[in-house]
Amino acid sequence: MSIDDLKSQPTDPTRRKFLLTSGSSVAASLVAAYVPASAKSAAEGTDSGATSALSNIEGAIPITLRINGKEHSLRIDPCTTLLDCIRETVALTGTKKGCDHGQCGACTVHVNGKRVLSCLNLALMHDGKEITTVEGLGTPDAMHPMQASFLACDAYQCGYCTSGQIMSAVALLKEPCGPDDTSVKELMSGNICRCGAYANIVEAIQQVRKNV
């Protein structure tokens, strides 16, 4: 099978399915244990659980976050970063926590169309703003062109930085960026990949830019 054949046959890209079918039921149950009941209900589309569960926290402030086009009415402790709110309260775990200090880019999301680091943002600062996470870009059946290009170009190894890389790459499409690889590398320098998939990441981005 040639590389081109492989690229044309990304049959089942779902990481979650891979985990579930590779005998990691123990890991899966551990993960489930760390998602609070309130977050589960938020994920299922009812935010009442999140609101009531946090209503007793002293100093919690009610806000409305609009994430991937869906409004979430929440009560948030002021200390909560946007990253922790997205992952733990709203239970959208596609956005990753890497360094938690603005040094790795794994937590990149879009706020009002611009890419930011959700770990250096307080959730409360985003009341009423439009937030997009990797879950809002596309689905396994209808991927964003950048997601499809990362898959086709094998632009990852472990995958932990990938959602941040893709969020940065999608934002880059609308930013002033020269046509060459060097310009792409410069504007992607805030996203670290410890596996070192950089060459394929640049290729994936350039493939999309050529087709836009």
Binding site: G59, I61, D77, P78, C79, T81, D100, H101, G102, G105, T108, K114, R115, V116, L117, C119, L120, N121, L122, L124, M125, S168, A171, L172, E175, P176, K185, E186, L187, S189, G190, N191
Partner: protein, 333 residues
């Protein structure tokens, strides 16, 4: 993270009144303004900053870039670094500022960080950032382990026996060379601070980094009218090609007529305890022919008073070459 009360003032007056209740506007302030959060939230997670009250100033009307009546530029305190760097007038007339900002941080951080916040960016000294260590800046009187410890990236200009922490900002280096003015509204009214007077040398009080007092809100920065025909350059040298703080950087604004330098403004980054304007280099350039010998002499003058630490003697020659090369690139632009 230390718990805090989150307040969202709707007008500058109430923000200033709330901040005026702080015991200090310097290290350890109990009330903090929050702009982009890129420095403050980071330091709050490390418990280096532990404010009781955080004032979110992002809803205040401080986010505009406007022309001033004299032909200069007024930049609101909450203008994002990326919006400033890509502003057409900044790219055309204040290219050194655009270059400096785009050489700093990452695209994500530039989309978040504000101009006011960048003026107050804190040092990356590892001892300052680690509450398990002593630090005269964080806890006055406890000592400076950097002087006998890891100091490769720390300052060679403006240091004292109490502190050798480097100012990490790129934007500030360009603003020093452009002779910006910082405008502050405080409990006692408004005032304008020349850029060079805003940051303080550490001396025996490294916990005091600026002239700001409790309640002082940076409202905007102004740039003087552009110098017609000036040649500008920001050159940054660092351990990796991008997303890294400067080991040495130089911002230069030159005017050259008939091969001679008629006006020079020079500032250095990555080497000073504050954004380092160099009148010594400017004096060595003005009136001289624009050639390599002049540029090297200016670099020698700029670093004449440099005081290296155990691990960073290399920065003296690095900064000299950085400045000389920036001057050469500017002269050829």
């Amino acid at each position: 993270m230390h718990t805090f009360e989150f307040i969202r003032p709707t007008d500058p007056g109430s923000a200033i009144a709330a901040a005026a209740q702080s015991k200090t506007a310097q290290q350890g302030a109990d009330v903090r303004f929050m702009g982009g959060g890129t420095t403050l939230i980071d330091l709050m997670k490390l418990n280096v900053e532990t404010p009781d009250r955080v004032l979110d100033i992002n809803r205040l009307p401080l986010d505009k870039i406007e022309a001033t009546p004299d032909g200069g530029l007024k930049i609101g305190a909450t203008v994002r670094n990326s919006d400033l760097a890509y502003h057409p007038k900044v790219q055309k007339d204040y290219a050194v500022l655009s270059q400096a900002i785009l050489n700093g941080a990452s695209a994500q951080i530039r989309n978040m960080a504000t101009v006011g916040g960048n003026l107050l960016q804190r040092t990356r000294c590892v001892y300052f950032r680690d509450t398990a260590m002593s630090c005269n800046k964080r806890e006055p009187g406890t000592g400076c382990p950097a002087i006998t410890g890891h100091n490769r990236t720390l300052a060679i200009l403006g240091s004292s026996e109490h502190c050798i922490a480097t100012n990490p900002s790129d934007m500030c280096v360009a603003m020093a060379a452009l002779e910006a003015t910082i405008h502050v509204q405080g409990a006692k009214g408004s005032r304008s601070i020349p850029f060079g007077d805003f940051h303080l040398l550490p001396g025996s009080t490294p916990q005091r980094e600026t002239v700001l007092e409790p309640g002082d809100l940076i409202t905007h920065v102004t740039l003087p009218p552009p110098i017609v025909g000036s040649r500008q350059m920001y050159l940054k040298l660092r351990d990796r090609a991008s997303y890294e703080f400067a080991l040495a950087s130089a911002a230069v604004v030159l005017t050259i007529a008939s091969g001679r330098i008629t006006r020079a403004r020079v500032a250095l980054g990555g080497v000073g305890t504050k954004p380092w304007r160099s009148p010594e280099a400017e004096g060595a350039l003005t009136g001289k022919p624009a050639n390599d010998a002049t540029f090297r002499q200016a670099a020698e003058a700029a670093l004449r008073n440099a005081k290296p630490q155990s691990e960073n003697k290399f920065k003296i020659e690095l900064a000299k070459r950085c400045l000389a090369h920036a001057l050469k690139m500017a002269s050829m632009s």
